[in-house]
């Protein structure tokens, strides 16, 4: 009896780390596909569900699976080094594009229709007189300022590059 339980325990200990540190088994992925992540496609009048390659690899971030033991990236405090060197025109583009910052989903931006109302109204942002470094931190990882924020950590989670965040800061600071 004891040897069985030891063997069972060993088997669990050996098998467990294989998936404990990686993707959960119930994630919709194809490990051989370039982006790994799959998306479902419903085929009319068929008993089979089709899975297509998704445009982005979403596997590096934790899922809702009970098996997922991977950590979420912790809040990261950053320092804006050197001159801002951001491009406000590029920043606007990043702010409205769904595949970039898509700030417009939650925030009002002058000159853009159908703004979101979840976040701060960004019209006249310059008048708030925030330091560049503070705005940079807020976009990079807003959790440092407010633990329960719904604002995604754009820098920490590699949603935007450091230069793209600099461009966004330049854009925001240009809003009279």
């Amino acid at each position: 009896m004891r040897s069985i339980s030891i063997l069972a325990g060993l088997a669990v200990a050996l098998v467990f780390p294989a998936w404990a540190q990686g993707l959960p088994r119930d994630a919709a992925v194809n490990a051989a596909a370039p982006n790994k992540t799959l998306e479902p496609r419903v085929v009319t009048n068929s008993g089979r569900l089709e899975w297509l390659p998704h445009a982005h690899n979403l596997t590096p971030w934790p899922t809702l699976s009970h098996e997922d033991r991977r950590p979420a990236p912790k809040p990261r405090k950053v320092r804006l080094a050197g001159p801002l060197d951001g491009d406000a025109a590029r920043g606007r583009d990043i702010a409205v594009r769904p595949d970039k910052g898509y700030c417009i989903a939650c925030h009002q931006i002058p000159g853009e229709e159908w703004p979101g109302t979840v976040g701060l109204d960004l019209r006249g942002f310059k008048q708030r007189q925030y330091a560049d470094a503070a705005v940079y931190q807020q976009i990079f990882d807003a959790r440092v300022n407010h633990a329960q924020t719904v604002m995604p950590p754009y820098g920490t989670n590699n949603i935007l590059s450091e230069q793209e965040i600099r461009d966004l800061v330049a854009f925001l600071q240009s809003l009279e």
Binding site: L10, V12, V43, R48, W61, V118
Partner: protein
């Protein structure tokens, strides 16, 4: 015996304990009433959609106000148009007759003396034969397999059968008992998942659907989680039939989170949670959503 238990604990418990230390973040954990009226203390929109037959057409016609109807203006009887959900319903009826030729399929789904009537209102439920809680679509896949047919969870034909079964409960209030035992545990796990931050955008369901209800995300207004699961499977006007688990996968993809497969334990727990938040609301299919 004690030593064996200790060994088991050491071999099972230690790696689990270590893994559970992984840093995850959660929204402020709210409480929810497992009944549709719980919305009164969340968004307060319930009074506008409590009675499917008495929706205010003025709210329905106003894009800034129609969120208060929780999209029920796309459900029958307010929405009397013929759409893809009706074709799916016909397909579902045909498939059901084939599957149930030997009268075993309906029994496998859990039909009693009332046949399919009221069956949808009792799912998800614990299935002794599966030794776990399952949603209706998971059970349809299982019971179809026993008849030699492949009806994968989330496939059109599976959802079509689910829609047909649900149509036999039309007008009957959802009643999923999450008051005790494994169902209560599943509800609690679902509630926790609802508040669990995940994915590249680091969002939880509750980040928007509990804490930002009524606010705008670009052109859409965020609606309440109450009374939402009851109209699934739903016909999406971008031309496909969608089960609740596939909707969860879509929500995940929309927030740049790796989706799970239909029938996964996490999605089933979320289904238990979301369905309990529809308790008391009448089954209304076939429904449409944008």
């Amino acid at each position: 015996m004690k030593r064996i238990a200790l060994l088991l604990w050491l071999s099972l418990g230690l790696p689990l304990a270590g893994a559970n230390d992984a840093h995850r973040e959660y929204d402020a954990m709210e409480t929810y009433e497992p009944h549709v009226r719980g919305d009164q203390s969340l968004s307060g929109s319930y009074k506008h959609w409590a009675h499917p037959g008495k929706l205010d057409w003025r709210l329905a016609g106003n894009p800034e106000e129609n969120w208060k109807l929780n999209w029920k203006f796309m459900d029958p009887p307010f929405n009397a148009s013929v759409h893809g959900g009706h074709f799916a319903l016909d397909r579902g009826e045909e498939l059901f007759r084939e599957l149930n030729a030997k009268a075993r399929f309906a029994r496998c789904l859990g039909a009693g003396k009332d046949g399919l009537k009221g069956l949808r209102a009792r799912y998800p439920q614990y299935r002794a034969d599966l030794k776990r809680i399952a949603g209706l679509e998971e059970v349809i896949e299982y019971c179809a397999a026993r008849e030699g047919r492949v009806l994968q969870n989330g496939s059109y034909d599976n959802s079509a059968v689910s829609l047909y079964v649900a149509s036999k409960s039309n007008g009957m209030p959802m009643r999923v008992d999450v008051g005790k035992g494994v169902m209560r545990d599943a509800f609690e796990r679902g509630r926790k998942l609802f508040h669990t931050r995940a994915g590249k955008l680091h969002l939880a369901c509750s980040s928007c659907h509990t804490h930002k209800v009524g606010l705008q995300l670009r052109g859409s207004v965020i609606t309440t989680p109450y009374g939402d699961a009851v109209h699934y499977p739903v016909y999406r006007t971008r031309y496909f039939l969608q089960s609740l688990h596939l909707r969860f996968a879509e929500c995940n993809l929309d927030t740049r989170t790796q989706p799970l497969v239909p029938g996964s334990r996490a999605y089933t727990d979320l289904e238990v949670f979301m369905t309990a938040l529809s308790n008391g609301y009448p089954v209304t299919v076939p429904s449409e959503r944008d």
